[in-house]
């Protein structure tokens, strides 16, 4: 087998520092005196799925996991992997909390160091 140097994601782990905002969906309708008020909706904040650098996981493996979990193109997956490698972390997906949790679980199933944080309003 040809031998090549093992490329690893290098660097320190960076814990997420985002403040956690509570999701609150308020779709209450209030009646003011005799007139009907419009329903008020306070949208839940989106959540970031963050992958952190680790010194062990192979770069090509990280790219493959991004492609598998999110269906990203090779280019996008590679770009995100490089961001993890160079910046210590990368926001790999942003959206609704439930889906963010599903993605985080899938990434952790492949052993990528993954955290979730709410996007500050």
């Amino acid at each position: 087998m040809p031998v090549s140097s093992v490329s690893c994601i290098l660097g320190e782990r960076v814990r997420s520092s985002g403040r956690l905002a509570r999701m609150s969906v308020r779709a209450a309708t209030k009646e003011k005196t005799e007139t009907k008020a419009k329903p008020k909706t306070s949208l839940a904040p989106p959540w970031n799925v963050i992958v952190h650098d680790d010194p062990v996981t192979l770069m090509t493996y990280v790219t493959k996991v991004f492609r598998t979990v999110f269906g990203y193109t090779e280019d996008k997956a590679h770009r995100l992997m490089m961001e993890v490698h160079q910046s210590g972390r990368s926001v790999v997906w942003t959206g609704a909390r439930e889906q963010a949790e599903m993605y985080a679980q899938k990434l952790q199933a492949h052993h990528l160091l993954t955290t979730l944080e709410a996007v500050d309003a």
Binding site: M1, P2, C8, E12, L20, P55, V56, Q105, A109, T114
Partner: protein, 171 residues
């Protein structure tokens, strides 16, 4: 160690006793109850305690079940390892349908070895090897061996096509 591509999957041959021992350790590492390993394989996902507690209650057990089932699959493949004629070397077939599970299991094993041996990022560099203790160096060799196998499964190397297991002269 040599590698060949056959119709059934990937064949890793010429596996010396230490490589065999390292591979047999993969499922055990995946099932490890070592606190450092568990903290890495099942990391804190939320900063907020309540959200983390909920995660711990719902997501973590599912992940644990997945890791266990992967460990069982890897263990079954390892049980089919065969001795090569007139050598102390062995040969392992990783079927195509098991590649994804193997990739994740190998990654988990490498992370576990890293954590259990108190290794640091600098040790993963060629220059860092000399600064590691003997026990750490042994762990590093295992980590790199498993990385080579991972790289093959990721398609990082061009592998010779051998047709079938029979073409390799392996029963």
């Amino acid at each position: 160690m040599w590698v060949a591509r056959v119709a059934e999957g990937y064949v890793f041959g010429g596996l010396l006793p230490q490589a065999v021992e390292t591979l047999k350790g993969v499922p055990m590492l995946l099932e490890s109850s070592d606190g450092r390993v568990r903290a890495r394989l099942l990391p804190e996902t939320f900063e907020e305690a309540e959200a983390q507690e909920t995660w711990q209650r719902h997501a973590v057990p599912e992940l644990e079940r997945l890791f266990l089932s992967r460990a069982q699959l890897v263990r079954r493949d390892l049980a089919t390892m065969r001795k090569m004629p007139s050598t102390d070397q062995q040969v392992l077939l990783i079927p195509d349908g098991h590649v994804s599970a193997w990739l994740a299991a190998l990654n988990a094993a490498r992370l576990a070895l890293f954590e259990m041996n108190d290794l640091e990022a600098r040790h993963m560099e060629a220059e860092g090897f000399g600064g590691a203790t003997k026990k750490q160096q042994e762990a590093l060799l295992r980590i790199h061996l498993l990385a080579e196998i991972q790289s093959v499964l990721l398609g990082d190397f061009e592998i010779d096509e051998a047709g079938s297991l029979d073409d390799l002269g392996i029963d």
